[in-house]
């Protein structure tokens, strides 16, 4: 079909899905081989797709979860598609995530009170039995009358509201202790709020001459971007590169410290790639692109420039950050991320905390909590 271009009418029919199986297949085969016909038939489509996607994104962001749907999810009454919708939306919407978590907490309270409520019926029954025994049984009463106790007056402890996190309000008591933060992270967060420097994160082993010689790399028409010289929190990090007029297919190869191949992409015409399988956590990696041009292959970076290196965040720290995010909220996650050297992730947690507390001095104080020496982590 490559030799014989379809007519304008055939292309139009193809675009409308018409013409029957044989014609669809023939035109399709030609389009896959002929860039000029693709341009002719679908050149205007790209902008339509961009407009469509802008609409879809807007719709996705405005479709917040209703109270009724969240209530159904929390009560376990939601069907599979409703649960899936709640999962998908909360993945992009912190507001609904916070509301759903708050409902889960209050459901636990209601359940707790309901279970505790049963004792309200048991205790009077025991008391009644004791009274009956007192009158019916000879000798000493088996139950002493309860001592008279003055009504307990509780006064709220002196405390200062610092900010409200997704897990609830965080206060500071008169002794400077934080209330509302799990004990495991309380000392770290206290240090953070006092503006103390976090311990240094040594990234020197990840930094080579890569950055310095990036200009030379660009001569090949492709510039490697990320991950380079950073700790990646995701075990399937996003690899990115910039093309300077070089549209040839490339293959990404990821090597471990001993330069053993651990992951490899198919030939790609894009500028991004995410490995199919996760890389081992805690390990250091380096990566390289191979430009495929007919029988010739060109490596980027070329020796003597060494490939960019990165480390995947170790399992223990990763799990602790995940737990901190779920149980301790943005503030706890922020201090752990800072200590792990994941500055961009930390910044995002702080942004979320600030969204909840737009005028909080404590959030300002937390912002000044940074690692001691200048370390960089541009992309995670």
């Amino acid at each position: 079909m490559k030799s014989k271009h379809p007519t304008g009418e055939e292309l139009l029919r193809f675009r409308r899905g018409l013409g029957g199986a044989a014609e669809l297949h023939a035109v399709e085969a030609h389009l896959f081989a002929c860039a000029s016909c693709r341009e002719l038939a679908g050149g205007d489509v790209r902008q339509s797709v961009a407009a469509m996607w802008a609409d879809e994104t807007e719709a996705a962001e405005n479709d917040h979860l209703s109270f009724e749907l969240m209530e159904a999810v929390v009560d376990g009454r939601a069907d599979e598609t409703e649960r899936e919708l709640a999962d998908a939306h909360t993945a992009i919407c912190e507001m609904c995530t916070g509301e759903l978590r708050a409902l889960e907490r209050v459901r636990a309270e209601v359940e707790g009170e309901r279970r505790g409520g049963a004792w309200r019926f048991v205790v009077p029954a025991v008391a009644a039995a004791a009274v009956v025994a007192f009158f019916l049984l000879p000798g000493k009463p088996v139950v002493e009358p309860p001592p008279r106790v003055a009504p307990k007056v509780t006064t709220a402890p002196q405390r200062e509201l610092l900010f409200v996190d997704r897990t609830g309000p965080v206060y500071r008591d008169a002794a400077g202790r934080l209330i509302g933060v799990p004990a495991a992270w309380e000392p770290l967060l206290r240090d953070g709020l006092q503006g103390k420097r976090a311990p240094a994160v040594d990234l020197t082993e990840l930094q080579g001459e890569h950055d310095a010689l990036r200009g030379a790399e660009a001569q090949s028409g492709i510039e490697l971007l990320q991950p380079a010289g950073v700790i990646a929190s995701d075990a399937r990090p996003l690899f990115t590169w910039r093309r300077h007029g070089n549209d040839r297919p490339v293959r990404v190869a990821v090597y471990d410290e001993q330069f053993r191949l651990v992951a490899q992409s198919e030939p790609l015409t894009t500028s991004r790639w995410i490995p199919d399988a996760p890389l081992r956590r805690g390990e250091m990696y380096q990566w390289q692109l191979t430009i495929i041009s007919g029988d010739e292959t060109i490596k980027v970076p070329r020796p003597p420039v060494s490939p960019p290196r990165f480390r995947v965040l170790d399992r223990k720290t990763h799990d602790e950050i995940v737990r901190a995010r779920a149980e301790g909220g943005h503030a706890a996650a922020f201090v752990l991320l800072i200590r792990a050297g994941l500055l961009d992730d930390a910044k995002r947690e702080l942004q979320s905390l600030r969204a909840l507390n737009p005028r909080s001095d404590s959030v300002d104080a937390l912002e000044s909590h940074q690692p001691a020496p200048a370390t960089t982590n541009a992309a995670q």
């Binding site: 675009r15 409308r16 609409d55 992009i92 009170e113 509201l161």
Partner: protein, 332 residues
């Protein structure tokens, strides 16, 4: 039906009948100015009366936001993509306005929104309490034995003690009802509970971009992403979605002119018809048979999936949300 409603519904018919963008534009404009705007103003007046937290500038921001949402929804309706069916345009505009107001309040006062939901949940799930709706869609809550008692009004200056940290919402409600022995509006209960819990963080401005939506941390994806690569990227990410979501999305997805986006894939050499079919679990013969009928409406997709129309809508919303996150992530 009143004369006004007849006029409005005729306008809607014009929306469905518009053949292209040129015909659609004036129809939307006319619907917005003659029908939607008076309803929006009236609903916002009622909403703003219920809260002292928003000023008159906020009303203008909200009006603009409702207008924007309506334009988007009318376009989707015109393309047959709307999740909603509209019998009465005025009611539809009122609902969109109420939702926009609620969303704005949730964005501006996130802590309060959570507390309000918690109170609503406790009132309807804890047997010691009761909740009922009153005139104009308002909700009041009180003790279970107060079903016949008239709702009260919370004084403008309330003196309630701060509750110790960790006090349950139910206990806080009990204390409020001891101090004010009448059913109270949900918003008034939330005000009182906020005071008892010592929660009074300031609002975020209504017009501020919503930083809580992960995908909006930076400029819109369509702007960031090279147009040529967008569909390629979307196709790759659609492949990562669960099968039912892929079906609900791909078979319905259409561009602003109503053309099937699935059919663009072979047109741009991104995926063949057979590959599109495989992605949604169809044989080559099946997808070729279906191909001229794309995009399909929700009822047809529901029949294919053995699901309800609402489930198809939910599947597509899920797919959209996942794609927004993933495509956004790859482009940040």
């Amino acid at each position: 039906m009143s004369g006004r409603n007849e006029r409005i519904d005729c306008g809607l018919e014009a929306l469905y009948c518009a053949r292209d963008e040129r015909e659609l534009e004036p129809v939307i404009e006319s619907l917005l100015t003659t029908c939607a705007e008076p309803v929006i103003r009236q609903v916002l007046r009622v909403c703003l009366r219920r809260t002292a937290r928003l000023d008159s500038d906020a009303a203008e921001d909200l009006r603009n936001e409702v207008m924007l949402r309506l334009v988007g929804r009318m376009r989707r309706l015109h393309r047959g993509q709307g999740a909603d069916t509209i019998d009465n345009f005025a009611s539809y505009v009122a609902v969109v306005t109420y939702h926009t107001f609620d969303d704005a309040m949730r964005r501006a006062f996130p802590i309060r929104a959570r507390l309000r939901n918690q109170i609503r949940y406790v009132l309807s799930h804890d047997r010691r309490f009761a909740i009922r709706t009153v005139e104009q869609g308002g909700v009041v809550g009180g003790l279970a034995g107060w079903r016949d008692r008239d709702p009260g009004v919370l004084p403008s200056v309330v003196d309630l003690p701060v509750a110790p940290h960790g006090t349950s919402v139910a206990t806080i409600l009990q204390r409020i009802f001891v101090a004010f022995p009448h059913p109270l509006a949900l918003d008034a209960l939330t005000d009182a509970a906020e005071q008892m819990m010592g929660l009074r963080p300031g609002p975020r401005p209504l017009h501020e971009a919503d930083p809580q939506t992960v995908a909006t941390h930076e400029r819109p994806v369509a702007e960031r992403l090279d147009d040529a690569r967008l569909l390629e990227e979307l196709w790759r990410e659609i492949g990562e979605l669960p099968l039912r979501q892929r079906v609900a999305l791909l078979l319905n997805l259409r561009d602003p002119a109503g053309e099937s986006v699935a059919r663009f894939l072979p047109l741009l050499g991104i995926a063949s018809i057979a590959e599109v079919g495989r992605a949604i679990g169809f044989s080559e013969e099946e997808i070729v048979r279906l191909w001229p009928d794309l995009p399909l409406d929700d009822h047809s997709i529901a029949r294919l999936l053995g699901a309800t129309r609402q489930q198809v809508i939910n599947l597509r919303k899920s797919a959209r949300a996942r794609l927004t996150r993933r495509v956004g992530r790859n482009q940040r």
